[in-house]
Symmetry: C2
Subunit: 363 residues, 2 copies
């Protein structure tokens, strides 16, 4: 009777997809390697490895559309589920984002500026790259990095070979370090019918490789136009379906693309209360071929990540406009367990709230 | 580890309570007589009759707070669960709302104007009441009426005795029919700590006894002040904890209280996107003793009920600001199966949308 969405991965992104879709009458089914995965509290969860074709097939049968809460779902797993249900975004889009080298080349091909970079599979290649691109730079694994994991900043030549060894010696990429004034991201949606919408640019602040705070809208019409033009080309190039996020550095007032995620993104969590339609709802609308919802901001939004543990709601909710998002995950150092959203009337008011919230989430 | 909320009744109100509480990290457990009850799709559901003390006890054990999605939960059931978990609002508040006679007396006692009325247990009483109060009037069952069920409008003396027979002859109340310009309601919250908040007055339109459309805020400061003063007294009189809704007629510019519901209410569904904090979130905050959230409207909200069946989201969502709420219930004539929410920039714009939505939900 009702439309059933399958989600590979049952973390907080899957959980928030369900929380956006359940009000619209959608049903959900999750797949994860862990029986404790948080989204499994909201809908049936099939537990299995990502190489278990039988479990994947039984998960996908009867599902209308399969999507992902994790960008590193193996492309082979996507191909298995795609025999039983439509899988969106496509395996091609996932594959492009899973390898930092193909990703950089794709971003450059659609006209984005990217940092100088080189594939690294040996010490000789790394020394040559450092010579050509210069120092400082970052050595990263091409696959499976997240939240600053799988990467090392290199400032001196003597650090090159130890860094190489620490990351396994091969399957790496060396990138010139982009000096930047700020980090921003653009969340965009493209539907099965080709309709495209862009959220306002979001400014992001990281610490120790983990996103800590986002603010939106950035309110720079030239950067907004440039980002929409560039991301629009990426969406068309991939014939992308769903929500996607591109992270940029801003250097000398210009955008330098860093990476993209073929999914809803932490830097778009402010849209839950801060935009007319959340990124989660628009992802679902996009993969179902429904009309996309308005992406305008309703005020000046702030999102603060809760890392390691949640502050007590009795405390945070003393701020009467605060929205307390708890992913219902066990506390653990460095783990994203929730976020706090605030929509202010002005950027100035937002900063006064940001100082208060920083106290609550200090870990 | 996390706070567990038990809900007696697992209909759409329970479902929307869960959808408000799950993002805050709350856990839910439902109790209903039907294994198909819609909220059971989101959280564990204990199936049992409301007079099954063992089932009620096993439902309540381990739960932090029990609340209700149905105002006719028997007070005896509440007493059973209250032995294992805090039950809010209190059995006293439920009892007061379950009998139209005690309800009217309570509303009058706290200073509200109410329609003239009389308890009816015989034809002689009804004839005397009709004589004293006059015609037209409404004969209602004192208990278990909803959505216009269990009541008959009487315009002529000859209709009195047949109406009495059709409603069982006893346990009734006769009320003078209040001529009114409009119907409004006030949703209010009072927390365990005594904190109180009021939503803006909502204007409601019924057809065939069922709420069809709500608009908020009403924007009448005198009526808002009067309603808050009166409902504030009711909250204090009952030492009420949770969200409550009082329905009023407006006659000659003055409020006449009709009834109250000791729970979240259909006329407050616009608050999901139309207020800073929804009635569902504030009910949970209230029963947990958490600070209440802002009740201000963010624009000019419209809520349109979907009765019988849902329009297709592919159609409704072509209106880019529309929010499609589907309770995931089987279609059935006269059944509330969902609602559409819209937040407009102005009352004029709201009316142009209202005309469009009326086409979608025509049944």
């Amino acid at each position: 009777m009702s439309t059933l969405i399958g989600v590979l991965g049952a973390g907080q992104l899957g959980r928030m997809l369900a929380l956006a879709g359940l009000p619209m009458g959608l049903g959900f089914r999750f797949y994860d390697t862990s029986a404790d995965a948080t989204a499994g509290q909201l809908a049936p969860l099939v537990v299995g490895r990502f190489d278990d074709a039988d479990a994947l097939a039984s998960f996908a049968r009867g599902v209308d559309v399969v999507t992902y809460d994790w960008e590193n779902v193996p492309v082979t797993s996507v191909r298995v589920v795609a025999r039983h249900a439509r899988a969106l975004p496509s395996a091609r889009a996932l594959a492009a984002a899973q390898d930092r080298l193909t990703e950089k080349r794709l971003l450059a091909r659609v006209g984005m500026r990217v940092a100088p970079h080189a594939a690294i599979d040996s010490a000789a290649q790394l020394l040559a790259a450092a010579d050509q691109i210069g120092l400082p730079g970052i050595l990263k694994t091409r696959r499976l990095g997240y939240d600053g994991k799988g990467q090392v900043v290199i400032r001196r030549t003597a650090e090159l070979v130890p860094a190489l060894a620490s990351l396994g010696g091969r399957g790496l990429i060396y990138e010139g370090l982009v000096p930047f004034e700020r980090e921003v991201s653009l969340v965009a949606a493209r539907s099965r019918r080709g309709e495209t919408r862009f959220y306002p640019l979001t400014e992001n602040r990281h610490r120790a490789g983990i996103l800590r705070e986002s603010r939106a809208p950035l309110q720079s019409p030239p950067l907004q136009r440039a980002a929409e033009r560039q991301v629009g080309r990426l969406l068309e190039e991939l014939r992308y379906v769903g929500v996607l996020c591109v992270e940029f550095f801003v250097h000398d007032g210009r955008l330098v693309a860093n990476e993209f995620a073929p999914r809803v993104h932490n830097s778009g969590h402010w849209t839950i209360e801060g935009a007319h339609t959340s990124q989660f709802e628009n992802h679902l609308r996009a993969i179902l071929g429904w009309p996309l919802g308005e992406t305008r901001a309703v005020g000046h939004a702030l999102m603060v990540n809760c890392i390691g543990s949640m502050p007590r709601p009795e405390l945070t909710l003393t701020l009467p406009g605060l929205h307390h998002h708890d992913y219902h995950k066990a506390p653990r150092e460095g783990r994203k367990v929730g976020h706090l959203n605030w929509v202010a009337d002005s950027p100035v008011r937002r900063e006064s709230i940001a100082r208060k919230l920083a106290d609550y989430v200090e870990s």
